[in-house]
Symmetry: C2
DNA sequence: CGGCATCCTTTTGGATACTG
DNA sequence: CAGTATCCAAAAGGATGCCG
């Protein structure tokens, strides 16, 4: 049974209530660390410290928090491999795979339009002094 | 002249350097207020206080900062209408229109998969106690 | 009306130490 | 190796007052 009877009264298209669950979920997905974790995992399952090495500048705490959040939202899976010492594999869930295309589209846009954005920045900074 | 000769040595696909300009730009676009401003402006030019009323929970300072950032990046335009008292219209630039599809795709995903995400959350919270 | 400047609180995040 | 817990510094964000 999938119908959870959401109250969408706060989700009108042009009125973003702080309670709108879509807004909340979007907010949880659209931070830079989540995006980068997803992009790395798109290339296959990865272990905690390998992930940390790929995401230059992230602290262990932030990575841990990001992974917990993505795991809770069902975007990634966490598998403990019982070796000594223990190994932990993170991977995209089917749900995680389904969210990749929009992310890629946005990231692709930043690549294709970076020059225009930088030109706009120069223009703005010149006008503003 | 469009070739600005970027140094992309820090932009390897699976190594997100803190200096990678795509990463920085993605970070500036993917915050909740920017997303919501863009979505409102997709329906036509809007004035400052009208925008503020639509974005429930935003402070004047945050809205102002968000608009400045989007304007600087060339995503939106700012037009001062010389009336008394003054009116200020914000609108999407052509560049702003071009970034809407990826945003819509991601937001659409949150709508289509919210049930699955909430089920995952319940499952996680049950496991974690 | 559409802001900027200031102050102050709250949140975020890094460094460090410790555990299974 | 893969974390959690704690402490502390830095940044984000709200409230208020003032200005063109």
């Amino acid at each position: 049974m999938e119908d959870q009877s959401h109250d969408y009264s706060s989700c009108a298209a042009e009125q973003f209530s702080v309670d709108c669950p879509h807004r909340v979920l979007f907010g949880e997905l659209s931070d830079k660390w989540s995006m980068m974790v997803l992009t790395v995992l798109a290339n296959g399952p990865t272990r905690f410290n390998a992930l940390k090495r790929r995401l230059e500048g992230i602290s262990q705490k932030s990575l841990s928090q990001t992974l917990r959040k993505l795991e809770r939202n069902g975007i990634i899976t966490r598998e403990v491999v019982d070796t000594a010492p223990v190994a932990v594999q993170y991977d995209l869930s089917p749900l995680g795979h389904s969210v990749l295309p929009p992310f890629r589209a946005l990231y692709q846009w930043t690549k294709e339009n970076l020059d225009q954005v930088e030109a706009a920045r120069s223009s703005y900074d010149t006008r503003a002094g």
